[in-house]
Amino acid sequence: MAVTSGHGVRPDRPLSPHLQIYSPLINMVMSIVHRMTGAALYAGSLLLAWWLIAAATGPDYYNYFLSWCDTWFGKLVLLGYTWVLMHHMMGGVRHLIWDSGHGYDLRTVDILSWGSLAASLLLTAIVWVCVAMGGI
């Protein structure tokens, strides 16, 4: 008879299905993207700190910082940063709504999930239209 208990014994019991079994739903995808954008903002905080350090250092170094922002790579990073910030912000609002105990029926879950994605794209577009027009 097989040993099924005791120290160091892992009986071969069936496991509950894991993530890859399920077809992705929008709230699942937005949930993990919220975490990924959070991690990206974590790294991006270095960019914010660099900006402040550059401003506090002096005109030469600040202009050097700006020259980085002005490259195509710098602009791509800033565009990405904007969307990541907006997405995490909209996802945060969605989670705060859920924290209040509201919005748990399936239709509202879908609306909130798609809505936060749409809002993040819209807000990013608005910010960069302002940028393209030379600031506010």
Partner: protein, 127 residues
């Protein structure tokens, strides 16, 4: 020596570590603050586009702007530190590696906070 007591017996009646609710609440309070401060940051950067250094220095050193930036740095670094702590605790299972990652996480957040706070204060007070 092997203890005859079960792990449950050892922890029963001790209660929780009392940190779960604190972590949850801190994350929400800083989240709400970050909504306002994040919008402020985007506005600030958009308003500084194309500005020369003197203008930038003057604007960042303005008391109201500086106070909002200080708030953003404090709220933001607290939020990101406990957020990353949750990610580490979810995915890093080796105890030694986890403790090391949690310490590095704190160091990183404190570094970003101190560097940013010092810069803001220097822009406000410095020559």
């Amino acid at each position: 020596m092997t203890s005859m007591r079960t792990p449950l017996k050892k922890v029963r009646y001790l209660g929780s570590a009392k940190e779960g609710a604190d972590h949850f609440w801190k994350q929400r309070v800083t989240a709400v603050a970050n909504i306002f401060l994040g919008v402020f940051l985007v506005w600030l950067i958009a308003s500084l586009l194309g500005a020369d250094y003197a203008t930038v220095k003057q604007k960042l050193g303005h008391p109201l702007i500086a106070v909002a930036l200080l708030g953003l740095v404090v709220s933001g670094t607290v939020h990101m530190r406990i957020g990353m702590q949750t990610i580490i605790e979810d995915y890093v299972h080796d105890e030694g590696l986890k403790v090391a990652a949690l310490v590095l996480n704190t160091f990183f957040a404190v570094f970003v906070a101190l560097a940013s706070l010092f810069s803001i204060l220097k822009l406000s007070f410095g020559a």
